[in-house]
């Protein structure tokens, strides 16, 4: 079974695991499984083996760069990679080869991570799952007839299946946490401004977050450690200290005050029994660990969803206007249909959404005033059939993820068990701005008790 990053890092440091052999094992897994799961848009085996060889040389010289040295990862194909195509899963960028790495790609590379390839996404991180693009959509490794969620769909599939140990994603309305929940892994959308967005194909400037996905919360903490930090060339990047994200892993939740937001999944958008049970199971586990839980009421989920969707639509339209008005049919059908809504908004609609955003940030802060964390459902259902996903998903029913894009708060999705058909279910742990270490601490406790991390997709 593919090790976690933490396990592999310990073994590499102890010289009981060869980075080259680990990389070969992942390449073999990719060879066997990717023809079914379509997680990769581009595989880079020669580069991976060369980078693993360099890591192994450092291992032998005892000059390892840290816990990511020699760890196979992949990048969502909206992250710029110098000299490698970066397509955004779109025919419009099919031949796009950036001249430099995204800032977070460079940081992960500098930490010694081994690049296995570029991963499927929804087109430009919004249009999918689509069957009319140059590459097929990724499929869920727990059941390949099922949806991965998106848009970091390839990362979700590849990590869950053990093709890579971790990878990058982006999250504008839930695109890290959705795949984490449906693929049964961990994924964090850190605080807005924590990770540079420079070199990542934008979707909506004020909502886009970069972050990692991995098999466990602990592994996400290790990846985030390498990705976080101030970037003066990203106007949204915050010049704040970077804490030790792993510091709380394995620590107690004794005394933490946690608000359980039940109305999101009980009233605002009723969840399946297994998804609702995941929240209650997680609450029980945290309470057993000594946390003080109480129910908390936030504004209606649709208030968050409406503001998030309108801001996203306006900003995405602005970005795509030069192309969508001249190359409309080169986009996939889902992408162009979703983008088109931005064409009919007024400037006042956008400003009203921004005013609502300020109100919701204040209301959320007030709701969390005497709490360290929120516990929120991770998804409305287990993974649905991939061919049943509606074209306008976010417009129909409000999701549980957008509130934390809108507010910028750190939100971690962890696996909290399995539901119908053996498909995974997730929950979100949400913290105050810059408090990711506490988020990881609580997420790790839930995962340890509920996630059955010894259980992987078959195949």
């Amino acid at each position: 079974m593919t090790p976690t990053i933490a396990e592999a890092a310990r073994a590499i440091a102890a010289r009981t695991l060869s980075p080259v052999e680990l990389t070969r094992a992942c390449l073999a897994r990719i060879e066997a499984r990717d023809p079914i799961l379509h997680a990769f848009i581009l595989r880079t085996p020669e580069r991976a083996l060369a980078e693993a060889g360099a890591a192994e040389a450092r291992q032998m010289r005892r000059t390892l760069r840290g816990p990511l040295d020699g760890i196979p990862i992949g990048h969502k194909d909206i992250y710029a990679t110098a000299g490698l195509p970066t397509t955004a899963h779109s025919r419009l960028l099919a031949d796009h080869v950036p001249g430099s790495d995204a800032q977070t790609v460079a940081m992960l590379s500098g930490a010694g991570a081994v690049l296995m390839g570029k991963l499927a996404t929804h087109e430009f991180a919004i249009g999918g799952p689509s069957f009319d693009l140059p590459w097929p959509p990724a499929r869920n490794p727990w059941d390949p007839t099922r949806f991965t969620s998106g848009s970091s769909s390839g990362t979700g599939a590849a990590v869950a299946d053990g093709m890579i140990l971790g990878g990058t994603g982006s999250d504008t309305g839930g695109s890290i946490r959705g795949p984490a929940a449906l693929c049964g892994i961990a994924g964090i959308k850190p605080t807005y401004g924590r990770c540079s967005r420079r070199g990542i194909v934008p979707l909506a400037f004020s909502l886009d977050h970069a972050g990692p996905l991995a098999w466990t919360a602990e592994d996400c903490a290790l990846l985030l450690q390498a990705m976080a930090g101030h970037d003066p060339l990203d106007p949204a990047s915050a010049d704040v200290p970077v804490p030790d994200f792993s510091a709380g892993i394995g620590g107690s939740v004794q005394g933490l005050r946690i608000g359980v937001v039940r109305h999101f999944h009980e009233r605002d958008n009723p969840a399946t029994p297994a998804c609702a049970r995941a929240v209650e199971d997680s609450a029980r586990v945290l309470a057993a660990g000594g946390a003080a839980l109480r129910e908390v009421t936030l504004p209606p989920l649709m208030d968050y969803q409406a503001a998030n969707s309108l801001i996203l639509q306006a900003e995405a339209w602005t970005l795509h206007e030069p192309w969508i008005t001249t190359r409309f049919r080169e986009y996939g059908e889902i992408m162009r249909s979703r983008l088109a809504m931005g064409a009919v908004m007024s400037a006042a609609d956008y400003i009203q959404a921004l005013r609502r955003r300020r109100e919701l940030v204040a209301a959320t802060r007030a709701g969390m005033a005497e709490l360290e964390l929120l516990l929120v459902a991770g998804a409305q259902s287990e993974a649905p059939p991939i061919d049943s996903v509606p074209k306008w998903t976010a417009l129909g029913r409000p999701g549980f993820l957008a509130p934390f894009n809108l507010t910028g708060l750190p939100a971690l999705s962890v696996c909290a068990g399995f539901g119908e058909g053996g498909l995974p279910v997730g929950v979100q742990v949400v913290g105050h701005a810059w408090q990711e270490p506490i988020v990881f601490r609580a997420g790790h406790v839930i995962e340890r008790e509920l996630a059955e991390r010894g259980r992987r997709p078959q195949g």
Binding site: S206, P235, M302, D303, Q305, A306, A307, S309, L310, Q313, W317, E321, I324, T325, T326, F328, S337, R338, A340, M341, A343, V344, M345, D349, I351, Q352, A353, L354, R355, R356, R357, R358, E359, V361, K391, W392, L395, G396
Partner: protein, 65 residues
């Protein structure tokens, strides 16, 4: 805010530079726009928002420093 008719919706698409067929416009209007319009109504808060309420993003002179 008055609800937008399909012909007004089509006019806005054309004004934005999208030259779509009637079938495409019909699908966008019936499938996408109606729930989208409800979201537009939602953020307007029924006209109850204070007139001076600030948006989340305001210009900061620090950006020029």
């Amino acid at each position: 805010m008055a609800s937008l008719s399909q012909s007004d919706f089509a006019a806005l698409l054309r004004r934005a530079g999208l030259d779509l067929s009637e079938t495409e416009i019909d699908e966008l209007y019936k499938g996408g726009f109606q729930p989208f319009e409800a979201m537009i109504e939602n953020v307007r808060a029924g006209g109850s928002r204070p007139r001076a309420s600030e948006p989340a993003h305001v210009f900061s002179v620090n950006d020029l420093a």
